[in-house]
């Protein structure tokens, strides 16, 4: 009977049904065949959305879209170019650096790939970088975004389990930086081998000027982060502060945002939120059925029966999540699997904060895993190259991402050091 739920879901997913409705329809079919009442459909949908922390999601999406409309992308890229451009492979390094800074603004890997890629891939091509390399750098580095705060997947993980959003945000910082540095190292080594160009060093004055421009974007992340950590405001309030901040910067500092652009930006952000929340609502229904059927317990038991060894268990979970992450949208996968797997992790003594970071990292690295990772698709369509080419070029980057993932999995301090410093 329970197998019906999963089979219907997977079939619908593969047939191209939107994930939200695949979850809803499979739950619906299951309810029809069981003695559960149909009234749970609207009820669980409502219960899934009526959560105050979720209000921070439209806030962060809107703040990101406003910053984008203010021309933040080009400013961040200019700044990264100014400080990294004189090193060999400088544009590639700047691409990774921009993803690290931009991650604080957009919060989703796909948006990162699209907005940085559309500027960087043509620019790198013009300077003589191979297109497959440029696309691969763009796609893999965009996975840093959802790990560095503010991050939508982390907010979702917090909502699901009642973990502190502030702690999760802090926990993501070091892994994000580590991943960024790792990818920069690969970029540098390949650039030296292929003799990619370097630019002349810019003057300190230019560097300072470009820093001033990018400073406002970096400040936004810091205001959000320290506002939440310092207990000045809740995550939801922080997201709204970010909106006001973004409007202010766009109108008065960068002066590229026009008042009449704002309604359209609000509308687009609202539609994005609506689609995401329908997903959250139906995932809540799906998860509820799983709990009624005691499936999380079943999965936990069978995993624990397989092995009680923490090292092996985490490895198994990593493999499972990488596989799922390659197929499924990050937030959808998180909604279904995080509560299920958290129990297993807790059983072998993994800290829930660390586990949340491990899980988000797995799922976003899945986005760049061939042959199905969505970020690869986006980057390859911008660079107009085949999926095979970008997959091959992305391999060294993927390997480094996996190494960082293993470090984060097996060294708890990488995630827990900063939250411990600020919270306990």
């Amino acid at each position: 009977m329970t197998i019906l739920l999963f089979i219907v879901f997977l079939v619908l997913l593969l047939l191209g049904f939107p994930i939200a409705f695949a979850l809803g329809l499979s739950s619906f079919v299951y309810i029809l065949f069981s003695d559960l009442p149909l009234i749970v459909i609207p009820q669980k949908m409502y219960a899934g959305i009526d959560v105050f922390v979720l209000l921070s999601i439209p806030g962060f999406i809107l703040a990101g879209n406003l910053m984008n409309a203010s021309g933040i992308t080009s400013r961040i890229i200019r700044f990264c170019n100014a400080i990294l451009g004189h090193i060999r492979g400088g544009l590639g390094l700047a691409n990774v650096g921009a993803s690290m800074l931009f991650g604080g603004i957009s919060g989703t890997a796909i948006a990162d790939t699209a907005s940085i890629g559309s500027v960087m891939i043509p620019a790198m091509e013009k300077e003589g970088y191979d297109t497959d390399f440029s696309c691969a750098v763009t796609a893999t580095s965009s996975t840093i975004g959802p790990i560095i705060p503010p991050s939508l997947p982390m907010i979702i993980a917090a909502t699901l389990t009642g973990l502190s959003v502030g702690k999760l945000f802090m926990a993501g910082i070091l892994p994000g930086i580590l991943l960024g540095l790792g990818l920069m190292l690969v970029t540098y080594i390949i650039s030296v081998k292929r003799k990619y160009p370097k630019k002349t060093r810019v003057s300190y004055w230019t560097m300072a000027k470009s820093f001033y421009q990018a400073f406002w974007a970096i400040m936004m992340t810091l205001v959000i982060l320290f506002g939440i950590i310092g207990g000045v405001f809740t995550p939801t309030e922080a997201s709204i502060v970010a909106v006001i901040y973004a409007v202010g910067i766009g109108l008065f500092v960068y002066r590229e945002l026009k008042l009449k652009m704002i309604p359209k930006i609000i509308l687009d952000s609202a539609k994005m939120t609506a689609a995401l929340m329908v997903l959250v609502g139906f995932a809540n229904l799906f998860a509820w059925i799983m709990i009624v059927e005691e499936i999380p317990q079943l999965i936990a038991d069978s995993l624990l029966n397989l092995t009680q060894n923490k090292f092996l268990l985490l490895l198994l979970i990593n493999l499972l999540l990488l596989f799922v992450g390659a197929f499924m949208e990050t937030i959808a996968a998180l909604l279904i699997l995080f509560p299920v797997l958290l129990g297993v992790a807790l059983h072998v003594g993994v800290d829930p904060i660390q586990f949340a970071v491990i899980m988000v990292m797995n799922l976003v690295i899945g986005l760049t895993t061939p042959p199905v990772g969505v970020c690869l698709f986006v980057a390859s369509s911008i660079g107009k190259i085949s999926l095979e080419k970008i997959s091959r070029a992305g391999l060294p980057f993927l390997i480094v991402s996996l190494i960082v993932l293993l470090l984060v999995t097996y060294i708890p301090e990488i995630t827990l050091f900063l939250p411990g410093l600020f919270y306990d």
Binding site: G16, L25, I39, P42, I49, F52, P263, M272, A274
Partner: protein
């Protein structure tokens, strides 16, 4: 007709979003700058949020804003993809129809309760689910009509 529906929904969504923002701003200001802080801000913000989502859910259908996995479906011929899209839209209509129908007894149950601080009838909150279902259905039908027009055009 469709143009008016679009416009009305769009402005309703924008208004709810702005109201949500203003409510949260009031909450922050009240905590630090005002002698009193209203206890209803959180609830009002959630109310605006839920209506923003419910009214926007239909518009997102038009935008094709719902993420799906296209790996397999892209291997199909164009004609098959067209039929598949119609099957998806009809299935979503069916699902949402059940959501609308069963939101009514749900509203009847919760209508006896009032919300904690605004003293709003909870039926008003749950009515958002009826709206969500209805608008998603309407926009699925509009997409079906679009699909039909597209296939009849000589290529």
């Amino acid at each position: 007709m469709k143009k008016y529906l679009d416009k009305i929904l769009e402005w309703a969504v924008i208004t709810s979003f702005i109201m949500m923002i203003l409510t949260v701003i009031l909450q922050i200001i009240a905590r630090y700058g005002l002698p009193w802080s209203p206890h209803w801000t959180e609830e009002l913000a959630r109310f605006c949020f839920i209506y923003m989502v419910s009214l926007g859910a239909g518009l997102a259908v038009q935008e094709r804003g719902y993420v799906n996995v296209t790996t397999l479906i892209n291997l199909f011929p164009k004609k098959a993809r067209y039929y598949m899209d119609n099957v998806i839209l009809y299935s979503v209509i069916l699902l949402m129809l059940f959501m609308v129908v069963f939101s009514i007894p749900l509203i009847e149950i919760v209508t006896l309760q009032t919300s904690a601080s605004l003293k709003l009838n909870m039926g008003i909150m749950y009515f958002s689910m009826t709206c969500m279902g209805l608008f998603v259905i309407v926009y699925c039908f509009l997409e079906l009509r679009n699909n039909f027009k597209r296939i009849r055009q000589p290529v």
